[in-house]
Assembly symmetry: C2
Homo-oligomer: 253 residues x 2
Amino acid sequence: MLNLVILGAGNVATHLARAFLNAENLKLLQVYNRHPEPLASFKEIAATTTDISALKKADIYIIAIKDDVIPDVADKIPWQDGIMAHTSGSISIDALKKFKNRGVFYPLQTFSKERKIDFMEIPLCIEGNSKRNFQLLSDLGRQISNKIYAIDSQQRKSLHLSAVFVNNFSNHLYTLAAGICEEQKLPFEILKPLIKETAAKIEELPPRQAQTGPALRHDQKTIAAHLKMLKLAEEKIYSLLTQSIQKIHGEKL
Amino acid sequence: MLNLVILGAGNVATHLARAFLNAENLKLLQVYNRHPEPLASFKEIAATTTDISALKKADIYIIAIKDDVIPDVADKIPWQDGIMAHTSGSISIDALKKFKNRGVFYPLQTFSKERKIDFMEIPLCIEGNSKRNFQLLSDLGRQISNKIYAIDSQQRKSLHLSAVFVNNFSNHLYTLAAGICEEQKLPFEILKPLIKETAAKIEELPPRQAQTGPALRHDQKTIAAHLKMLKLAEEKIYSLLTQSIQKIHGEKL
């Protein structure tokens, strides 16, 4: 049985707590958060505290807080027992170097409070400052996910950057498309099956092979017509992505 | 019972033919294609021909060929009976103006030969040059899809442009992310759950509300670190999309 404490009460903390609750060999002892309000939803499943000096003894502490407050909170944690692991994609394991046992427990997924998600399918990127700590964090991970990866801090930064492309930027393209639809009084609804199929295709085809469209075909007539329809900001994005597609996929055959 | 002829033998023609085959009140009489090879896979389900002057009499002719050959093929179709409808997102209904009865039958989806797809979920964008022709094409559409939309040529152009953003450009972002992963010897596999969840989220949240990430948070430290990791072409795309997110979502609160 592993005893756990979570620091933080945001989206990642919420989803992790739910996943821990469903695992058999884990006990979530306590959830810490600086502000009391977000702790309300945790009260039924664990002890809660807003006093960092009142942290309980546990095997593993999961620090699921915003990147920029990690050093600050790490500073205030009063003792050195147990493994301290943060959940950030872009912060090095070294941010926790004051702790003898440290690691990273980064779930590569986008979380919203409203949406339930099958944690078993979420890739967990694990790093530890020793074989033992890596092993313990992996054991913890395997209780809530089928997808455990050993990822060092350098690789994790690249993964986080990749995640910005496939999540933040793709979602922004959906927003721009929604804007174009709105102008023509078209329901955004109509694009949803295409959005879902575009993402689903990667299961069968590498994205490079799945590429289609006027840029790939060097269809200058359609590209010119599209550019004319766009406002300056969107026009620049269209041009740059078109160039990038043509650069990566090479010359027209 | 509606009698149909398909002109073309590519991805759209293939998926349409399969869908027509499963419908009760449709009969696919014939498939025409200029080259004989692609017709092979249609031989079991309909008559085929490479001779455009040998088109059979039908109620509706679906012209599912590449945009730039539509005018050419339209020119060669020898008679005026039946409704002529093309399946293109970017070509006006006027490309078929030599025909008394004309329309558009545009399935808004990305098709690959390898992937089966539930046609019932594909939005069909219908246009007709008369109420009767619109009605007949809609009746045809309803036999193979639950999602029938009345879309005029102007709106359809905007939809097609939106589709480039959510499909071609999103897929290209996946390709760029795959490249970043490859450089760090990370399996692209690890990004797949995130890609799928990003797309799935639009069912519950408008993309504007689903936006997250360093650009939205005006997290300059992470943005600067990301830009440093990228090559020039990707750096430009990162900057431009970051600016666009910040422009659309307004100032940091």
